[in-house]
Symmetry: C2
């Protein structure tokens, strides 16, 4: 049984974190929920619904389901306006191609939703043969372990053989709860210590550095 | 001689870091210099010229002075479009008012420029009696110590009596080189360990928490 990798998508393979922060900040301010950029940043990667409710609770203003949906819709709209094209992070396309050629199984597990994630998958060259688990496939998004567990099951690999790759503490927390190893990438704008303390076995700058360091993870393609 | 405080502005008193990241990313991409959000984020707080040249060097494409100026101009334009109004960080207005009433001397030292910073100073209630040193007042911006030293001289306080308050490692590095104590705020999106390792004596969440913790710094208003 080969070792397997499960990747987060936004901020791990595609450079979208800062655009998400900015779009959330605008959508929330428009809804009368002004909140600081850094607090949004540290929550990116959670499910959008969980995130919106957490912000509202913090500001002491409970939201109805309709309001939560409207804020999420507006965030999506602003995000598409701000970032018409997706940009893979350095080395992301090469890393996935490399794993494919070496027959190291990998999948993608994201708190994002189809069809919003489709452009990202396309620009990464992720074909129909790759297992992709998205928000709509599970009941609970990160930091619950459901996305990673669903991905691992569909890939047909053992939990103990999986290493999760993510840029946010929510990925690392969800991986731990799923009983999986994890590594962190700095591409989401967290500091190295934050990722290590959240359970990352190693921290790399970006997918390019991870690609050059696979043997440090016991993966020898 | 009372203890004195010198504040950074963007990211420390005003919530502008994520809008700056996004505006820089767009301005640089338009100039054919695509670069990841997290790399921009970790350089915010440097002078714009230094920053633009650093990015260009990293991408292996040297820039002429005219190009550097044009990218800076475009960044300013996008920034004003994206953030028409400045939002003080939680507790910032109260903190400055509190220091003023208690007659604790304070000043502001920023890598930003007039007239771009004027709206921020106004929303913070910073009057003409407060020493404000901006990019145009010194030869070299952060991480050089010039901004903090010029501010301290104009305030007429001793270096050993100054505590610098900043959100970026560049503030903390410049403070160290100026021989000043420093504290960090999480409002710029750095992790606590990054700020502590760069020399911050304490790290607070935001200006509100700093305001409630002045006695931890030996400042008893």
């Amino acid at each position: 049984m080969a070792r397997a990798l499960i990747f987060d998508l936004d901020g791990t393979l595609i450079d979208t974190v800062y655009a998400h922060v900015f779009a959330w900040q605008r959508a929330l301010a428009e809804a009368g929920l002004p909140i600081e950029g850094w607090r949004i940043h540290r929550r990116i990667g959670m499910s959008g619904g969980l995130f919106t409710r957490a912000v509202a609770r913090e500001l002491g203003r409970p939201l109805s389901d309709t309001e939560v949906e409207e804020i999420q819709r507006r965030h999506g709209e602003l995000f598409r306006e701000l970032v018409p094209e997706r940009r893979p992070l350095p080395g992301a396309v090469d890393l996935l191609a490399h794993l494919g050629e070496a027959e190291v199984p990998f999948g993608i597990a994201t708190s994002g939703r189809r069809p919003e994630i489709d452009a990202s998958l396309e620009v990464l060259g992720v074909g129909a043969d790759v297992v992709v688990v998205e928000r709509g496939d599970v009941l609970r998004a990160k930091p619950e372990p459901d996305l990673f567990l669903a991905c691992q099951e569909r890939m047909g690999v053992h939990i103990r053989d999986v290493t999760v790759v993510g840029d946010a503490v929510w990925d690392l927390l969800a991986a731990r709860r799923a009983g999986m190893l994890s590594v962190g990438l700095l591409t989401g704008g967290y500091g190295e210590d934050e990722l290590a303390r959240a359970g990352a076995f190693r921290v790399y700058r970006d997918p390019a550095e991870l690609n050059a360091s696979l043997d440090e993870l016991g993966i020898v393609p």
